[in-house]
């Protein structure tokens, strides 16, 4: 499937004019001689399908081309931007799981009460809210008017300079690195910076998780084993927590896995708003300036993540649902 994706995106990018310009590492336009040299070196004079095989050979060998927007080779750019996006996505998905499951459970247990209606309306508005608008509004209210939280970026540059850049990057994840360095001021700073983008990004996923959790809880609550649990006199709290919710978690897991793609899309917008130095912001600026190698790079990466996540969901499924394991 990854091969299919690569063929599709490759032909897409080759359809649009001048691939040689993508290899231009300076700001000046290419001279005729340089263009010919590049065409020769990257086999751009050959027919497209031959080009594809040369390109594929490069990709497998770790040469993904050069990205002018990042001023780095694509592989290095991905390595540089990926941790920021991964950190943001993980925090958001954590928020979404905790809040989504709680809201979904409440909504299903107190069906048709005001609490249920409120949750349903919230879930519907969650999938209707434009991510970029929500981000801007949060930024305006909490960052600009109330000044509770920083406006944008991943950390305070002044604070970072005061620390003399003595933060050693072990993992690239700011929250973990600052702890490993034992610098609590900078950890707090990084934490404050991630709050608004994480909330913005998680909002849509909260809605999706809430919705699926509610419907699968409603389904499970009518099943025999829940009735059995109730009739043997277990307190309602335990019935919900141990019997109903565990089983309702199975479809929810799938949805959480699938929502990764949505989070990557959302990251493009969220990172652009909050100047978050991650893959999303890079991909937005790369597509706008026709940086073909970068476009190819992150579409392939996105497809790769999709495949990996699907695999992980399947494995998790077997862990959660013994019926799958036994088959």
């Amino acid at each position: 499937m990854l091969l299919g994706v690569s063929i599709f995106v490759f032909s897409l990018t080759r359809m649009a004019g001048d691939p040689a310009a993508a290899y231009n590492q300076s700001d000046r336009p290419l001279s005729e001689a340089a263009r010919n040299a590049i065409n020769e070196r990257y086999h751009l004079n050959d027919p497209v399908y031959v080009q594809y095989f040369y390109w594929l050979e490069g990709v497998i060998g770790g040469d993904w081309g050069y990205s002018p927007t990042a001023r780095l080779p694509v592989t290095e750019a991905i390595g540089k931007f990926f941790p920021a996006t991964f950190e943001l996505t993980m925090i958001s998905i954590l928020i979404a799981i905790v809040i989504g499951i709680a809201l979904g459970t409440i909504s299903a247990v107190r069906r048709d009460t005001p609490a249920d209606h409120a949750t349903r309306i919230m879930a519907l508005s969650g999938v209707s809210l434009p991510v970029f608008w929500l981000g801007l509004m949060l930024q305006f209210i909490f960052g600009f008017s109330l000044k509770w939280l920083p406006l944008d970026g991943r950390y305070d540059t002044n604070l970072s300079l005061l620390a003399g850049n003595r933060i050693h990057e072990y993992t690239g994840f700011r929250l973990i690195d600052t702890i490993l360095n034992g610098n609590w001021t900078m950890f707090g700073d990084a934490f404050l910076h991630i709050i608004l983008p994480a909330i913005t990004l998680s909002f849509g996923t909260i809605a999706i998780v809430t919705r699926i959790m509610r419907s699968s809880m409603l389904e499970v609550m009518n099943l025999d084993y829940v009735r059995t649990a109730r009739s043997k006199g277990l307190p309602e709290r335990l019935v919900i927590r141990k019997h109903a919710r565990r089983n309702a978690m199975i479809p929810t897991t799938t949805v959480i896995g699938l929502s990764f793609g949505g989070l990557l899309s959302g990251a493009v917008l969220t990172e652009s708003i909050f100047s978050w130095p991650g893959l999303g912001r890079w991909s937005a600026s790369a597509t706008l300036s026709n940086d073909w190698n970068a476009i190819l790079g992150f579409t392939l990466l996105a497809a790769f993540i999709y495949v990996v996540v699907n695999l992980a969901v399947d494995v998790l499924y077997a862990y959660l649902d013994p019926r799958v394991r036994l088959e």
């Binding site: 209707s128 509004m137 305006f140 493009v268 937005a284 579409t299």
Partner: protein, 323 residues
């Protein structure tokens, strides 16, 4: 004499046809009325319907509500090239935005842009998906295998990123945004239709049609497809909103609508340039909150309306939940 009886014959035939027609339409009419009744019972779906109707009316009566300047492109917001003004100032009901663009005008005409985009994308995607999905589900075999692997490829790239990649290849315009979104939108429909066709294919009425000797294509498009439409219609309704959401996102990043267009996503991104600074009007300072707030709110209400309606329709159209 002969003529008269022939006329009578004709008239009787006509009357019979009408009667037959009315009789055959009656159960459908009854079901339709029942649908309306169910609709009225579900408050949220009703609110959704009202929002949707309001948006359509807004788009239809845009020239009356916000008359464009003579000899100007109505999709371009008129500007006065001054600093942004707060709502109510100088005859601008919702204030002005970047280069003094009238927010009220943009809000009204933006509904046209949104409805055009979603109508084009959803209808085209459905037609493509309906055809490919039906063929794939009904004939099976190699066709099915190839088509489904192709949809796999499209589905494995997140929608916005795929749309961005396609839009990058094309030139920047609203039409190309629609094209890019259609490329993203057809595969889920093909999947949905295929699943429906697979489940309907085995039902008794299809077997009956086959027994009578109907052609394969006739069975597929006269019997199977119409009977698998319900979930597709629900999906279409919701997608009317979602398409606008993604299109606005693309506009916000910088694809699509040219500068100064009456397009809500573009208006939000225009407003962002002024968002965290101050403007002066009549000697008073303002943070131009209105530039981002109003168009964003319109996107939200638009999408919410279609989502509410779709959610309600799901309950109404599902025969198991219906009664």
């Amino acid at each position: 004499m002969v003529d008269e009886s022939a006329g009578n014959e004709k008239r009787r035939l006509f009357r019979d046809t009408i009667r037959l027609l009315r009789k055959s339409l009656q159960p459908r009419l009854r079901e339709f009325r029942f649908s309306l009744f169910l609709m009225r019972k579900s408050l949220l779906a009703l609110i959704g319907l009202i929002i949707v109707i309001a948006m359509v009316l807004l788009a239809i009566f845009a020239p009356v509500l916000a008359p464009p300047r003579p000899n100007a492109d109505p999709m371009q917001i008129p500007r006065d090239y001054e600093l942004p003004k707060p709502p109510g100032a100088g005859g601008h009901l919702l204030g002005t935005g970047l280069l003094g663009a009238d927010m009220y005008y943009g809000i009204i005409w933006g509904s046209r842009t949104s409805i055009t985009i979603s109508l084009f994308v959803v209808v085209t995607a459905t037609v493509i998906g309906l055809f490919l999905g039906a063929v794939s589900g009904y004939y099976g075999g190699a066709i099915d295998e190839i088509l489904m692997r192709v949809t796999d490829i499209f589905l494995s790239i997140p929608g916005l990123i795929l749309a961005m990649a396609v839009a990058a290849v094309l030139t920047r315009s609203l039409e190309n945004i629609m094209l890019a979104l259609t490329v993203v939108w057809w595969p889920p429909y093909a999947r949905l239709v295929r699943g429906q066709v697979l489940s309907v294919r085995e039902s008794t009425f299809v077997e009956a049609a086959r027994a009578v000797g109907a052609k394969r294509s006739r069975i597929l498009f006269r019997h199977i497809v119409p009977n698998s439409l319900a979930p597709i219609i629900v999906n279409m309704t919701m997608d009317f909103g979602v398409v606008v959401l993604v299109a606005a996102g693309l506009s916000y990043i910088g694809f699509g609508a040219p500068a100064g267009s009456a397009e809500w996503g573009k208006m939000v991104s225009d407003g962002q340039e002024w968002f965290l600074s101050t403007t002066v009007y009549n000697g008073q300072e303002y943070n131009p909150w209105w530039m981002v707030t109003f168009p964003g709110l319109m996107i939200f209400v638009f999408v919410m309306g279609f989502n509410l309606l779709g959610d309600g329709l799901r309950d109404i159209m599902d025969p198991r939940l219906r009664r």
